[in-house]
Point group: C2
Chain length 294, copies 2
């Protein structure tokens, strides 16, 4: 259950998938939502879909939600803080530390800024992919920094609840390390798996099952957007890829001709670590399951 | 639509997920199915679930379906050929060349043997995971070798159709190269992704979305079974992993501090190859899709 929105008009900067979905969710709570986009046609489409109005926002705004690609985040957050001097400002970026450093480096007073990151989305993009229920029961990282005021945090918490999501409080650094594991590495691995099929024969296409479909699904996401995400969270992702490369070397030597007869545990220890990783996230072992690994 | 089964009694050797599902599907077509397993309790359970009878098969059998782990395949196929001298014998193994080589090496007449591989399954195992509809509309590789008779191929084709699956005709070598890409590599990549979460913090668990869930789902599959599959298809899998390692090196150098300012295309080319791989399998770009890459 969510209460009616009572934190004033909301400006959504960026009318893509996430911005549009937030507008749709807030409109359900009766919020007064103003949609913007560098591409005015996108804001208009989002408005037509019911996510708010594509007119200039009033001078007094309660909350600015910055929903733009990672490279634009810091700039749009600063613009929001400057344009609406009494408003809380949050964002929905997949990376939190790099923009926070850029903001801190600007010397601007960041008391009204609180970072955010809804763990929801789609490999599709644009307003048409938006949905009011996109965030329902999903985690949404709320990421205050040391200068964020408690009042600003409360408004961002209210946004999360208004969208039906679950508040996960964390720091920018912890957030980035976590999503490197839970989101950025899975994306990269899906890409590498899909890439191996880029020259697929008709037979290979015919034999692809739902194991391939599921494992590679997120590889359909926008490469330009993800390129920014990975560059802005480069170090945690790089460390994970170094570990993956070591695991691959272990598998390669276990699969080398003759390795089986020379003894050793073969590939089994790596495979068992995979099961352990699933159990760490899904202790009951019954989530994310359906038939057919292909 | 499938016709009533008219190829005589069927012996299913191995009453796990696949054997039980085949029994259930054939029973729907009125086939007389005999279930076996090294663990008699499994055959009994499969029989209780309606997949056939757990009694000794008659001397005259029309088809033997060998549904045992890769390491047991060749032995059970030979046993089937010897025990039922007029019966066609097929199997459901995920790897085709290694068992075929073992069979050929045995010197036994293989005219009545035709390999098979339904591209369906589950990360769960055992009779209880079985389902009559498991193979519905799925590809099922039918893999004759040079000595297989046309009559034997027809019986195995009939099995595939009776299970509601689609016949994909191929050779053992082509099959193994294809599934290395479409199934074995995706499994390994899911394992490596999941393994990176084996020491997950509560925050990391809280932030795992459906991107992680989907990308790692098949990592839940039985490591002992997969260990056999990978060893028996070691060379194609090894070659793919060498390519993945090269892609990872490309990403690592693009993500190295300073790489961005030194120019270069960064991670984008690899990410775009991922999209190309998805398009190679799903030209319309609308399969395997649902919300939330996490």
């Amino acid at each position: 259950m969510t209460a009616a929105w009572r934190h004033g008009p909301v400006a959504v900067v960026g009318s893509g998938l996430i911005g549009t979905s937030i507008g749709l969710a807030l409109r359900r709570q009766g919020a007064d939502v103003y949609l913007q986009d560098v591409d005015p046609a996108k804001a208009t489409l989002a408005a037509e879909l019911g996510a708010g109005r594509d007119v200039d926002p009033p001078a007094e705004i309660g909350l600015v939600v910055v929903a733009v690609p990672p490279d634009e985040l810091a700039g749009e957050i600063l613009r929001g803080l400057a344009r609406w001097p009494a408003s809380v400002v949050t964002d929905v970026g997949s990376v939190k530390l790099a923009p926070l450093r850029a903001l801190t480096g600007s010397g601007y007073d960041l008391a009204r800024y609180v970072g955010g990151h809804p763990i929801a989305g789609s490999e599709r993009s644009g307003p048409r992919a938006g949905a009011a229920g996109l965030f329902e029961s999903r985690p949404w990282a709320v990421v205050p920094h040391e200068a964020s005021t408690p009042a600003a945090v409360r408004v961002v918490d209210a946004l999360v609840l208004a969208c039906g999501a679950r508040i996960v409080r964390t720091s920018a650094e912890e957030h980035d390390t976590a999503v490197a594991r839970t989101s950025h590495l899975p994306y990269v691995m899906a890409v590498l798996t899909a890439a191996s099929l880029s020259g697929a024969t008709p037979l290979q296409s015919a034999l692809a099952g739902s194991g391939f479909a599921d494992t590679t699904r997120v590889a359909d996401s926008d490469p330009a957007l993800w390129s920014q995400i990975l560059r802005r969270n480069a170090e945690p992702v790089r460390q994970l890829l170094v570990d993956v490369a070591a695991d691959i070397n272990e598998l390669l030597s276990a699969l080398t001709p003759g390795a089986q007869t020379r003894g050793g545990n073969g590939v089994l220890p790596v495979l068992q670590r995979g099961v352990a990783g699933r159990r760490a996230i899904y202790p009951a072992g019954d989530q994310g399951h359906h038939l057919d690994p292909g």
